[in-house]
Amino acid sequence: MSDRDDLETTDSTAEPAAESDDDPTFAAAEYADGSITYPPHPVGPNGAERVGTVDLRGHEARVVTWTTSTATPPGVREPNTLAIVEFDLGGGNDDRPVRALGQVAVDDDGEPLDVAIGDTVEPVYAEELREPSAGIREPDSQAWDGFRFRPVE
């Protein structure tokens, strides 16, 4: 475990159990060399063992880039605005960038909100990001809930 972070991490490599359905986590993995990745992998990018889990949910992120896809696969919203974001973990974690890809959150009319490179966003939980049974992938093989990114005013 890195001694420079001030993150709350678990000391288990197991996925953290959500306290309830209303409190899902946005779990990234921390490794013995201090690196953090989303999604978690069995070992870190340099082969270091996994030592804990970081919940990205409470952190803001910066938009690295984004696109709006108008030709989406079966079961996916159309248009689908997607962004790659980089989290600001605070403290001494500037040299431990952790990024995620996700849908951009929608407005009251259900349309994806506008984003631009450099915008600050926050994760917002969504129970179902796409219709699990519409695509080619076996619905039971993976999770379909997750976090969208909403611009912070």
């Binding site: 997607l82 695509g135 080619i136 993976q142």
Partner: protein
């Protein structure tokens, strides 16, 4: 008709022979080509213990919307490649099929065995090579490896895919199934990755949007002279820039089409190549490399750098004993226009962030200093997934052996770079023509 007739040899007789089929074919071919000057079977090996590998035959079908199903496409290209090399199916020791998703697209698996039967190539060893969009390049690697290692004396690779019977949404989903679960659940597609990366590239390197459009214009222009290409029509920059948005900022003409097609190559040790074909009619794979990058695309430190392109080309250059400046012609994986910029930089042709300037300056035009995608690229030729990497090498083979017709450029050394996923896996091959 090839040098070996296609009559089947009784299987009992085949089992007792001490030579592999390819070795026996080489001996028969050598006997029938008394003009050859080399001791074809005793020539020294090129590089350490590793045999240099020659390409002695090549074929490709017409790419586009085809009525044929995958097995028929493979048989069409396979028969033509055998004919081009002057051999028969039962001469082959190994037969590889590059194919990403025949099961998903068509419900047809086991395609290499079907092809072996169709071409009377049994009992050749067969395998299907799936490496997503770079299945063709991975097949070239497997075929090269089979001969370089001595496991096979005569190998054929046929790449093919049948896609157009599916809707665009379905085909996009089949391809997107290569993504990690945390990517797939957000509905990401390969075109979406291209849009994400193109926006960042344009922003980071102050490149004009028009420069991406010029890649499409150039490759469509090249495709006019390719009789196998899906699209053989010129497009102007305005048409590209005004076409419908697919993954902003990229538009329809920034993307390759969905395609049916197949291509084939025949490989043997360089030391026996002249037993099959005249000395000016074969090329040598002087360097080849393969590499992976992060499977999860957003975990890359710099999203505008394709690590697999850099690593695989480093290996290929080292094996060939050349550098990027020695390459005369290149086929790059322009599944999306932005990929031609990224590859041309990460292959070392141009500095990072400057690939777009080379396109603007005409350096990569067919009559430029470094012609890129003389075939028309995936953009105009089409992208039948498993066939594309094979068809790239087909084009480079035609160029370095001086057989590219109206597309011919002055080239002794050519390079093909085949990209799987969004750079998740990459192969680079360097071909050299006759000295």
């Amino acid at each position: 008709m090839g040098v070996v007739v296609g009559n089947r040899v009784p299987s009992v007789a085949r089992r007792v022979t001490t030579l592999g089929a390819g070795r026996a074919a080489a001996e028969r071919a050598a006997a029938e080509r008394p003009t050859t000057e080399r001791d074809v079977l005793g020539a020294p090996r090129g590089r350490g213990d590793m045999e240099r590998v020659a390409i002695i035959g090549a074929s490709m079908t017409r790419f586009g919307e085809r009525d044929a199903w995958v097995s028929e496409l493979l048989a069409e290209a396979g028969a033509a490649a055998l004919d081009d090399a002057g051999i028969a199916g039962d001469d082959l020791d190994h037969l590889y099929v590059s194919n990403m998703a025949s099961g998903e697209f068509e419900g047809q698996t086991g395609v290499p065995n079907g092809l072996a039967h169709d071409l009377a190539a049994t009992p050749a060893y067969t395998a299907r090579i799936d490496q997503t969009s770079s299945s063709g390049g991975a097949g070239v690697y497997a075929a090269w490896q089979s001969v370089a290692s001595g496991a096979s004396d005569l190998t054929m690779l046929v790449g093919g895919e049948k896609m157009t019977h599916r809707t665009t949404a379905e085909a996009t989903d089949v391809i997107a199934s290569l993504t990690h679960p945390v990517e797939y659940k957000h509905g990401v597609t390969l075109p979406s990755f291209a849009g994400l990366t193109a926006r960042l590239y344009l922003d980071e390197y102050d490149a004009p949007r028009e420069s991406l459009g010029k890649v499409a214009v150039k490759n469509h222009r090249n495709g006019i002279d390719n009789p196998h290409a899906q699209f053989r029509k010129e497009v102007d920059l305005d048409t590209v820039l005004e076409s419908p948005i697919v993954a902003a900022p990229l538009r329809l003409y920034d993307f390759c089409p969905i395609t049916d097609g197949s291509a084939g190559l025949v490989f043997c040790p360089e030391s026996v190549a002249e037993a099959y074909v005249p000395a000016d009619d074969y090329a040598v794979i002087s360097g080849i490399g393969g590499a992976t990058d992060t499977h999860v695309v957003h975990e890359r430190a710099d999203p505008t750098t394709m690590g697999g392109v850099a690593d695989s080309s480093d290996a290929a250059y080292e094996m060939a004993g050349i550098g990027p400046d020695d390459v005369d012609v290149a086929e790059l994986h322009d599944m999306f226009t932005i990929l031609e910029f990224l590859q041309s930089e990460d292959l070392g042709f141009f500095a990072k962030g400057e690939g777009w300037k080379a396109v603007e300056a005409g350096v990569t035009d067919r009559d430029g200093e470094l012609p890129i995608n003389t075939s028309g690229g995936l953009k105009s030729k089409g992208h039948p997934l498993g066939a594309s990497g094979v068809a790239q090498v087909y084009e480079v083979y035609k160029q370095v052996t001086g057989d590219a017709g109206a597309r011919q450029v002055d080239a002794d050394t050519g390079l093909a770079c085949n990209v799987g996923g969004f750079g998740n896996c990459v192969t680079t091959a360097v071909l050299e023509g006759p000295a």
